[in-house]
């Protein structure tokens, strides 16, 4: 709700400038609001009034839209924004405890989000798409992964020092100069690799290259998806040999580089002596030797990770510079578009897509070719193409990686669609939480425009096509196509009843093709390799490959692309290397908040639209979170319900109030206050909400509850009896110290609330009345004497 605020004087000239740059039509309301928030850190009401005076935007629209999207705030925020991810993987890895730790560290009162000095504002966000680094947090543009409550103060200190210190490392990217190269160092700088520290490693490489004048090209490449090894460094030497280093730290860089490359000015005999000299001259100390030997993807664990995969949308991952269009073309990029332009009619393109058997990768699995045909056959000559990049499912990051690593591939797919459907205009709708994806796509669009792929009479084809980014503003429901289209039109993202489907009446009432990022990214491969090659992969009804964001309690997490038909067990055990820490597989959550938990007994279910549905899950957009025996299934159900409940648009009675009532029951269960009859009421509400909601969000919101009730009912029953069998539900557990305690006082020092008195060499005790269950004592205990039960 908006509140009156007199903190700030608005200069009308600032607002006028924003409006002039963005446009005065009503559809620009979201970008205008984003620009105002960038300027003032929140939305001052006076600024909104001025927007209404200067534009076609009505007061009702500006208030309605600004309060709909969670990105906007009406109170001034602190100078830095802490976005704590509460996505599925982060949730199971303890994000709630981290949130409490940040609030405690910054001394933020219970119902507020900003510290007294207005330095930091903390908020929970749906998913940062860094699931393999869980739990993760983004402070302004820096992402930190693998958090523990004890690391929180260090992270804040690190962030603040980065603000005062070295400036922006990213400016160091230099153009590709092939002629000088005696070798190439490749690194992915996607949001999640950066969160693993890739930005620091990258800056160190840059510094070493510059200082030592190494004849080395440092190349920023699309993500290999081998996220558990990030930051991952790949080195190709001039004699054609490749080396990989995983989990690299900046301190290891000098050693790694000098192992493969010679300082340019030196050669021959004197070099070894010079190394030592250089050491002292440049660093003043002898650097640490590399702690990691080069890993080889053809053997061992990493080969197991790569081998069962089949790369179509992630083709050439780890090789391609995301924004190097020449390299993209050299590796077959835009060949498919070229083929379509020169040799294929609209009809033939659509036939190829139909024959390939490609089905929508956003979750629904609607046959893509059929959708194209419907748009193509719609009578209205004005048609739109929309790429749905509003990947909001907690636990999913495939679209982020594809957009960040393969922007040209997505654009090429859209260009092919535009050609087939004779569309003149298109939009890429991308989540606001993915700033790097927006940046890369926007850079890629500019390059495409300069090369003539976009614009009037593109590539002398006689065909105009214009493509622009529509930035989302924080609403999961906008992944639903009618809500997405409303959002592009500058409205509240409320879905509407279908039919009419967007293929008949979409953007501004015109026939509109809405396809997911991965769907578009599959197209160039299909055109280049033929429909038959694609449909040769997979199962009878699900063809080709599917990307999954493999995360949670698995040894090797990351983005994987597998042929359809592989079983969940193969993905978890062969690619993922099985469950972490020797624990037992309990379930695999597939499809995020719309999907379900497939129990370990059904892990042989293949990746197939129909088979997953039969198991109670859905293919969804591809989130796959592995749960082990320590995960509480009621807590998982409650987690997803709290997500969908918060993301309901509020239109349909069943979804608006029904999900709230379901969540209240689940909250009660997790607090140990369940009542007899709660499970029956949950089931009945689940059925009503699924039947009586208009859009996919409401229709599928009960799935996580229904599948966990179906496969893990005894766990629910235990909660009614006041027990959480896994000890996950915080209200039902206590921390205690066992006789193993050696009296080291570490726990007492770590406890932020003074629940443990320090008594050297004596057994410590936890005052359960004071204890906030923050878990810090357990983390610091050297002898595992802290017990949770």
């Amino acid at each position: 709700m908006e509140k009156k605020s007199n903190h700030i004087v608005i200069d009308p000239a600032d607002i006028a400038l924003i409006v002039r740059e963005i446009g005065r039509e009503a559809r620009h309301v979201i970008p205008i609001l984003q620009a105002i928030q960038r300027k003032y850190n929140y939305l001052p009401v006076d600024a909104l009034r001025q927007v209404c005076e200067l534009t076609d935007i009505t007061p009702a629209a500006i208030s309605g839209v600004s309060t709909f999207y969670s990105q906007f705030r009406f109170q001034p925020a602190g100078r830095h924004r802490i976005k704590l991810c509460v996505g599925t993987a982060c949730h199971v890895m303890g994000a709630d405890t981290i949130y409490d730790a940040f609030k405690q560290e910054l001394d933020i009162p219970e119902h507020e989000d900003t510290d007294k000095d207005h330095l930091f504002t903390i908020e929970k966000v749906a998913c940062l798409g860094c699931c393999m680094l869980a739990p993760a947090v983004q402070i302004d543009h820096i992402t930190y992964g693998h958090l523990t409550s004890n690391r929180v103060s260090n992270i804040l200190a690190d962030f603040l020092s980065s603000q005062n210190g070295l400036g922006n490392h990213d400016k160091a990217i230099s153009p590709f100069r092939k002629s000088e190269t005696s070798g190439v160092v490749r690194m992915c700088r996607c949001a999640s690799c950066d969160a693993s520290g890739a930005h620091k490693v990258y800056a160190e490489i840059r510094r070493q290259i510059d200082q030592h004048h190494l004849a080395v090209t440092l190349k920023n490449v699309g993500c290999s998806g081998i996220a558990y090894q990030a930051p991952l460094l790949e080195i190709s030497t001039h004699n054609g040999r490749d080396f990989q280093y995983g989990q690299v730290t900046p301190a290891q860089i000098p050693g790694i580089l000098l192992r493969h490359f010679r300082p340019k000015s030196l050669s021959g005999k004197g070099r070894v002596a010079v190394y030592d000299l250089l050491d002292r001259l440049l660093t003043g100390r002898v650097w640490e030797p590399p702690t990691h030997a080069a890993i080889d993807t053809r053997f061992g664990a990493d080969a197991a990770y790569i081998a069962p995969q089949k790369q179509i949308v992630t083709e050439h991952s780890g090789q391609l510079d995301p924004l190097d269009i020449d390299e993209y073309c050299a590796r077959g990029g835009f060949a498919a578009l070229d083929e379509c332009l020169k040799n294929r009619s609209s009809q033939q393109i659509i036939e190829t897509v139909e024959e390939s058997g490609l089905r929508g990768r956003g979750g629904g699995g609607f046959p893509t070719g059929k959708k194209w045909r419907m748009v193509a056959e719609a009578a209205d000559p004005v048609k739109y193409i929309v790429c749905n990049g509003d990947e909001g499912d907690p636990g999913a990051f495939m679209d982020r990686m594809i957009l960040e690593s393969f922007p040209f591939r997505v654009i090429e797919g859209m260009l092919i669609a535009a050609l087939a459907l004779r569309a003149k205009s298109g939009f890429l709708y991308i989540r606001a939480e993915y700033p790097l994806a927006i940046q890369r796509i926007s850079d890629a669009l500019a390059i495409c425009k300069a090369r003539g792929y976009l614009g009037q009479n593109r590539l002398q084809s006689g065909h105009d096509f214009d493509l622009q980014i529509a930035s989302a503003a924080g609403a999961f429901v906008c992944g639903e196509e009618t809500a997405l289209l409303a959002s592009i039109q500058g409205e509240r993202g409320m879905p509407r009843l279908r039919p009419p489907y967007p293929v008949e009446a979409g953007l501004w009432g015109k026939p509109t093709l809405v396809n997911n990022v991965e769907t578009f990214a599959s197209l160039p491969w299909i055109i280049r390799n033929g429909a038959a090659a694609f449909s040769a992969l997979g199962t009878p009804r699900s063809k080709g490959t599917k990307t999954f964001a493999l995360a949670g309690k698995v040894m090797r997490s990351g983005l994987v692309e597998v042929p359809m038909g592989l079983t969940l067990r193969q993905i978890v055990e062969e690619i993922g290397g099985g469950v972490r820490d020797g624990k037992k597989l309990k379930a695999i959550q597939v499809g995020g908040p719309s999907g379900g938990c497939v129990p370990a007994e059904l892990a042989d279910t293949p990746v197939d639209f129909e088979a997953l549905k039969a198991a109670g899950a859905i293919m969804g957009s591809g989130g796959m979170v592995v749960l082990d025996e320590t995960d509480c299934m009621v807590d998982i159900a409650r987690y997803f319900m709290s997500f969908t409940q918060a993301e309901s648009c509020g239109k349909c009675t069943f979804c608006r109030i029904g999900t709230k009532r379901m969540l209240e029951i689940l909250d009660r269960l997790c607090a140990g206050q369940g009542q007899e009859g709660d499970l029956e009421k949950l089931e009945q509400l689940s059925q009503s909400v699924a039947a009586g909601s208009l859009c996919g969000l409401g229709k599928t919101a009960p799935n996580p509850v229904l599948t966990t009730l179906k496969y893990f009912r005894s766990e629910y029953q235990a909660h009614i009896e006041g027990r959480c069998p896994t000890g996950k539900c915080r209200d039902m557990i206590v921390y205690s110290i066992t006789d193993a305690c050696i009296g080291c006082t570490k726990c007492a020092q770590a406890c932020p609330v003074g629940a443990i008195a320090a008594r050297a060499y004596e057994k410590h005790q936890i005052d359960v009345q004071v204890c906030t269950k923050c878990d810090r004592c357990r983390q610091v205990c050297p002898v595992e004497a802290v017990e949770v039960g």
Partner: protein
């Protein structure tokens, strides 16, 4: 044209029509709340759902386009369950009360706030007419009623309940003492005859209302004087006989015939009465265990067995109520039974059957905490121009010797609780029809929510809003400068005026249209 079937009947309708239009063409009624002719449909409330028989899916009729070959059921079990669930979910989040708590707790549901309004305005005759719509013997009850209404009064929590019973007695006695005591108009004689056995509060009340419907009433009683327990069970010190006689005389003046010293089973038999009358009412008071055996109707644990909704016994045309079905000494409950029996008998006489489901739906607010109550009192004072200051919290009436001034001041303490749209609220009407249980999905957010009074003509009670968005569409279409808009999303979504403007600025042209369209009491006239 498109051809489809609804409830097994074929209908042809122009392409682009909705299922609602198709159903209406067939004369099939479908409940709607968020739909308004002339405005784009929105499909939010989901009470208009119907079932697609082909796949069992539930569709909102107001927005779903008719498709050729559809097979629609508007009356299936699934449809009823979905509508009922939708209503129960809406009610679980509806912070309002249909009736003032005094009126709700009164067994006769007398419109107490209305009585207070007329007393305060000095219109005692209108006040009495309001009372007599529900209570045939107000002066008598003014002496002996246990006044459950006063337990419901909100002011009880903050000082002292209103003296409702004393005010009622004052109004009724003022009428009896006037030259022309109020006699309600009676419809033309129907030619039907009703025998009422027992002249206690239930029997007398039944006669009072049946006579107004044009039915002839003969009251039989085993005693020498009419009044039953009122005369033979209540000491004269508690109830002056002059008052009892005066109110019985009014019923006699209305046309009731009294046959005294006539006991059922002795001087008359049920068989004989049934031959001579079109309907029988057994208002014979509490039955002792011996007496039960002599009655020719079925007996339950507490008395004569009846259908609790219609007051019918197991014998056709024979009704029973009051102490005969429910032991206890609460005269007002017997009086309430009297009126309910009269309504049932009237239906029976006109149509041969009595409809069920006439149970009124009344949502209640949760008990308010002190803070909510302060806010509530503040809002009600603004809303009803209540001028009372601190005296609001202090009873003003000496019940033994009420002065006209004190009566006026006491009535002025009324907070006029209850909904302003009690009779036009669609949520209440449908809740009644679908027998919704407001307690089924109890949860958070049923607290009292502040009423917006910053408009000259209307008030907006946000807690009663069901987020149907009709008012938003109305203000948008009319081109209001500010209008209304949705704020926020999900469960916390609200309807409000943009940019923190007042309701007055929001509804410059469309206040009346919004009141008329609002399906609940969220927007109503001051």
């Amino acid at each position: 044209m498109i051809k489809l079937q609804i409830n097994h009947v074929f209908v042809e309708i122009a392409a682009g029509s909705t299922l609602l239009q198709a159903a209406r063409q067939l004369g099939i009624s479908i409940p709607t709340m968020c739909f308004l002719e002339g405005y784009p449909h929105f499909a939010s409330c989901m009470v208009c759902v119907v079932e697609d028989k082909k796949n069992g899916s539930i569709l909102p009729a107001c927005s779903t386009l008719a498709v050729a070959g559809m097979d629609i059921d508007t009356d299936s079990e699934a449809v009823h369950l979905a509508r009922k669930t939708a209503l129960e979910l809406l009610l679980s989040d509806h912070s309002g009360e249909c009736l003032a708590p005094c009126q709700r707790t009164c067994p006769a549901h007398m419109n107490i706030p209305m009585m207070h309004h007329f007393i305060e305005a000095g219109q005692l005759r209108e006040a009495l007419m309001t009372v007599k719509q529900q209570i045939a013997l107000p002066a008598v009850l003014g002496y002996i009623c246990s006044a459950p209404c006063e337990n419901g009064c909100r002011l009880r929590q903050v000082g002292g309940a209103l003296s409702i019973c004393a005010l009622k007695r004052y109004v009724a006695e003022a009428d009896l003492e006037s030259n022309t005591p109020y006699l309600p108009p009676c419809k033309a004689p129907s030619g039907k005859k009703v025998a009422i056995i027992g002249s206690g509060p239930a029997g007398l009340s039944a006669a009072y209302y049946l006579l107004q419907e044009g039915h002839a009433c003969t009251i039989f009683d085993k005693n020498a004087e009419p009044g039953g327990m009122l005369r033979y069970g209540v000491p004269e010190a508690e109830l002056p006989r002059s008052v009892l006689d005066a109110e019985i005389d009014l019923i006699r003046n209305l046309g009731a015939v009294f046959e005294m010293n006539t006991a059922l089973g002795a001087q008359i038999t049920l068989d004989a009465l049934q031959e001579q009358h079109d309907a029988i009412i057994l208002a014979i008071g509490e039955i002792n265990p011996d007496g039960m055996l002599t009655l020719p109707v079925a007996i339950a644990k507490n008395g004569i067995q009846i259908d609790r909704e219609t007051f019918e016994t197991n014998l056709p045309g024979v009704f029973a109520g009051g102490g005969a079905v429910h032991p206890g000494k609460m005269a007002v409950r017997s009086a309430a039974h009297g009126k309910s029996m009269a309504l049932s008998v009237d239906q029976f006489l006109r149509y041969g059957v009595v409809s069920k489901g006439s149970d009124q739906f009344n949502l209640r607010l949760r008990k308010m905490d002190q803070q909510e109550l302060n806010q509530y009192i503040d809002d009600q004072k603004k809303l009803h121009n209540i001028s009372a200051g601190p005296e609001l919290f202090t009873p003003q009436l000496d019940k033994k010797a009420p002065s006209p001034e004190a009566v006026h001041l006491e009535a002025g303490r009324c907070l006029h609780c209850g909904c302003l749209k009690t009779d036009s609220c669609k949520l209440r009407r449908y809740a009644e029809i679908y027998k919704a249980n407001a307690q089924n999905y109890k949860g958070s957010k049923r607290q009292y929510v502040k009423t917006r009074t910053d408009h000259p003509l209307v008030i907006f009670e946000e807690g009663k809003c069901i987020q149907c968005g009709l008012c938003i569409r109305i203000t948008e279409k009319a081109g209001e400068t500010y209008g209304l808009t949705f704020l926020g999303r999900g469960f916390d979504i609200e309807v409000g005026v943009p940019l923190n403007e007042s309701l007055g600025r929001g509804l410059e042209k469309t206040a009346a249209a919004c009141v008329a369209a609002c399906p609940t009491g969220a927007i109503s006239l001051k």
